[in-house]
Structure formats: C-alpha cells, structure tokens
C-alpha cells in the first residue's frame, strides 16, 4: 500500500465515522440551541438505539438475517432502513419522555442543576442498557455476562466497491452510511428552513419569549426538537452498530463525547456546524489512529475539545455570543 493509499483509506474511515458522529452531534446541538442544556443522556439514548436494533435483528432470527439466501439482495437494505426508522422513533420517543419527566420541571432551575440531572439520566440509561444486555436472548450470546460487548451481525456483506485489485477498500457499509445520513441531514436542513415547525424551532432558539408572542407553542417545539435529535441519534446508532459490528452498554459515553466535541467544534447551536464538526472529528480520529497511535486518539479528541472551548468557545461556525435582549 502506498502512502497515498493509506491516507485515502483513512479518509474513507474518517468520513464514514464522521457522518455518524455528525448525526449524534446534531442531537446535542439542536437541544442545546433550544433549551441551553448539554443533554448528557444523549449518548446513552444512542446506546439504547443500538440495543433495540440488535434485539429486532435477533427477533427476526440471527440465522435468517445472516444468510443472504433467505432474505434476498434487496431485503438487507429494507431491513437496514427498517432498523434506522425503528431505532430512530424509539430514541426520539425516549428523548421526549426524558425531557417531559426530568428536564421540563427543571427548565427554570440553574443550568448546573439541569446538567447534573442530565448526568443522572445518563447513568440510569447506562444501567438500563446493562439490563438489556443481560436479557436471555439468543442474539446476546445466551449466557454471556450482561456487561460484555455484543456482536452485531454483518448486515451488508459485499466485495470492495473499488474493485478487487484496489488496495483502498470502500465497503458497502461505508456506502450505506452515506445513503442513510445524507438524506437525513438534507431533510433536516430543509425542515428547519421551510416548514412552520422548523421556523418555530429557530425562533424559539433565538428568543423563546418572542416566540411565544408570535403564537408559537414553544412546548411543542421543544418536544419536537428532542424527538428529532433522538431520531437522528437512533438512526446513527444503527449505522454505528452495522459499521462496527459490536455494541456495548457503555458505547454511548465515547460516542457522546466525540459528538459533543463535534458540536462544540462546529459551534454549538449551529446545524451545519454540527455536520462539519462531526466529519472533522471523524477525520481527526482516523488520522490520529494512523499517524499517532490508536491508544492516544481519545486524548487527541479531548485535547481538541478543551482547546476549542478555551480558545474559541463559539466554535468554527458559531456565533460570537448568544444575543440576549
């Protein structure tokens, strides 16, 4: 493999992971934009999405899923889209429920009170994922310890899309990530720009009282924001699981920190910022894995997070300061 090929391979890894990170980052940035809360539990909502996906795959029968003969070519894609939508709706609903039960009563409380509550929710969800992982199910490897990582079956198998001779590998999974995430991101952008609810979100984020005075039902807008953010996180978790072929009850912590870093990097509150930030973090991770050392990659990411917060807290695309009248 030549230097260029090594580099190209890392770009592919980076972009694929980056798109997933970006989807999770959107959930952080949207919620922060509207209620100024770091939704610490978001990463763990993501985790539960992965567990739901694995459970569905298991319920359909791991063997059937793994055997291309039973399902036929197109149905693998159908299953993937089904999982994306199912996990998306589940995570969205979960996110809304968390907001209703925990965050909403604390809306006027000091920010740190809300953040501590969010950390609490995160721990509760981690525990639920632990329980879920211990469920006596075939797909979870039967007697395996609850805390053990679970194998996620290879949903999309296929040869190198760049041809058998190419040293750089582009897998079907890489392609699938783009097929799933790009339309969702475009859709989100259009939704926020064009629809009434989307305009209500922007207005509520910029000035909630003025938004109410415009006749916007801000409670509904907030619920919708949690729903969409959760949906994107759920969709991301399916792609993550399919891509990495393994899930664990603690995977949301790292994924969440990567995504939060991405959101901050792009400028928290900004949708394009989260997308760009996600891709950048994906690339930074890939390059660090290759050119520094895998074991230092988390340090690199957290280093980026701290440096950005200290030197440019508004992020790359962020606004100087939140304008408050």
């Amino acid at each position: 493999m030549t230097e260029t090929e090594v580099f190209m391979q890392q770009v592919i890894y980076g972009l694929s992971n980056g798109m997933i990170i970006a989807m999770v980052a959107l959930g952080y940035t949207m919620v922060y934009g509207i209620v100024e809360l770091i939704n610490f539990a978001h990463g763990d909502v993501f985790t539960l999405g992965g567990f739901l996906a694995l459970t569905i795959v298991g319920a359909l029968g791991a063997a059937a899923v793994l055997d291309p003969g039973t399902l036929g070519e197109g149905s693998h894609w159908l299953l993937l889209f089904g999982l994306v939508i199912g996990a998306g709706l589940f995570c969205g609903g979960l996110n809304v429920a968390i907001d209703r039960i925990v965050y909403k009563p604390l809306r006027r409380a000091p920010k740190l009170t809300q953040l501590v509550a969010a950390i609490g929710v995160s721990f509760i969800l981690v525990n639920l994922a632990l329980f879920w992982g211990g469920a006596p199910m075939e797909v979870f490897g039967g007697g395996n310890a609850a805390a053990a990582s679970k194998d996620f079956p290879e949903l999309l198998e296929g040869s190198n899309l760049l041809g058998e001779e190419s040293n750089v590998v582009l897998r079907l999974e890489d392609l699938a990530i783009f097929i799933v995430t790009i339309p969702l991101m475009v859709g989100l952008t259009l939704f926020v720009k064009k629809t009434r609810l989307g305009r209500g979100m922007r207005a509520t984020a910029q000035n909630p009282i003025a938004a109410k005075l415009m006749g916007i039902d801000t409670d509904r807008v907030i619920a919708a924001t949690f729903m969409i953010g959760g949906f994107l996180g759920g969709a991301a978790s399916v792609m993550w699981s399919v891509y990495n072929n393994t899930i664990s009850f603690q995977m949301g912590f790292r994924a969440g920190m990567d995504a939060f870093t991405a959101a901050v990097l792009g400028g928290i509150g900004s949708l394009p910022g989260a997308m760009i930030g996600g891709v950048l973090i994906g690339l930074i991770r890939a390059m660090s894995d290759q050119y520094i050392e895998t074991r230092w990659t988390n340090v690199v990411v957290f280093g980026v997070l701290i440096l950005i917060l200290v030197f440019r807290p508004s992020g790359l695309l962020g606004l100087k300061q939140r304008e408050k009248v």
Binding site: A210, L213, M214, G215, L319
Partner: protein
Amino acid sequence: MTHSAQGAPLLSVEGLVAGYGSVEVLHEVSLEVREGEIVTLIGGNGAGKSTTLMCISGIVPVRGGEIRFAGERICSAEGGVRADRLVGRGLVQVPEGRRIFPRMTVLENLMMGAYGRDDRDGIARDLEQVYTLFDILRTRSGQLGGTLSGGEQQMLAIGRAILSKPRLLMMDEPSMGIAPLLVARIFEAVRELNRTGLTILLVEQNARAALKLAHRGYVLETGRVILADDASRLLVDPRVREAYLGEA
C-alpha cells in the same frame, strides 16, 4: 384628541394580581380598552407596566383577578388560554426591548409574525402595509435582524406584530432608546394604525407624547392604578404634571 371611535370593551383587566417568586408586583390592577381606542399606561420604572402586558399575553402567570378579551375570559388564577393561542385571537404584543430574532433576516422576522396564519393573500397585503409604513424595512429585507439599528429593530418589531393581524396591539415602550425624530415617526405610525381601526394599548415612559396620542390613560405606581382618565385631562392633572411630565 377626539373620542371618535369608542365601542364595546375589547380588553378588560380586573383586579389583576401577579408577581415573581415571593414578590408581588401587581396589586389588583384594573383597566379597560374599548374597541377603536388608543389607551396608554404610564408609570415610572418598575411600576409593573411590562408585567401587566406579559400577564395579558399569558407569559407571566396570573395569581388573582381575571382578564377578558373580546368578551371571553383568557386569564385567571385558575389558568387560561395558552399564550400561543392568544395571538391567533388577535391579542398581539410588541414587547419591551423589541426581542426580534437576531439570526433571521428582516423578512423572516416579519414572517414569524404570520406564524399561525395561512391566508397567503392577507399576509401579502399586510406585508405591503408594513413596507408602506416603514419603507426602510423593504430596503433592508435581506439583512439579519441582529444587525439593524435600535430604531430599525423597533420598526421591525412593530411590523412583525402587524403581520400577526392584531385586533388589539399592545406596545411596550416603543420610544425607548430612540432619537426624537424617529419617535415622532413611530408615534405617527401608531396613529395611522389606529385610524385604520386598530385598537392600541401603549405603555410609555414618555408620558407627554403618549398622552397626546391616546384617548385615555392609566397611571400605574408600584403595582397599583392611581389615576384613570381621559388623556387630555391627565395631561393637565397636577399630579401627572409633577411626577411624569417633569413640571413643577
């Protein structure tokens, strides 16, 4: 000021009690605005004028008394119509400090006023009316709201409210922090709007200008209405002259 158009009460506030936390800010405030009127609410800093408007708009919860709009009870201690539903009924406020959306363009800001409306033709007509009233908004329609000058933001806030198709327009200190020439321009706009049949409740610190413009006025002091009368009579009332018009 002629008392031309005086119809049935459009808004009536009775014994309104409200506050923040453990502090009670309004102690049984009562006032009334009749169809077609310009009514002004004047008073010093912290008297509770903005709080009164926020109660009427359903933003600050009411602790006692009730508020009726177009004959229907909208707010009381037992609850009321949700804030976002009031706008659709024509109860519209231009809040203090303007509160425009800084990262939306002028046009987007104006269209937020029409958030709950579906009548495209009506919206287009009202937008044209706003542009006629404040020409500058037309030329700046693509500029971000946050980058407008203070006076321009005030015009934008009023224009945005007009696009909500108000029956009662409540304005909280539209003259605040604005050059005298522009204040005159804005007050002229208020008069024009009233001439087209719009009922207006105007909160002002600039008591003289407000009383000259209004039909009737209320004077609020530390959460209580201490005077209520025709504007022309308040203008010559010695207590008002001393406390609010800066005359001995």
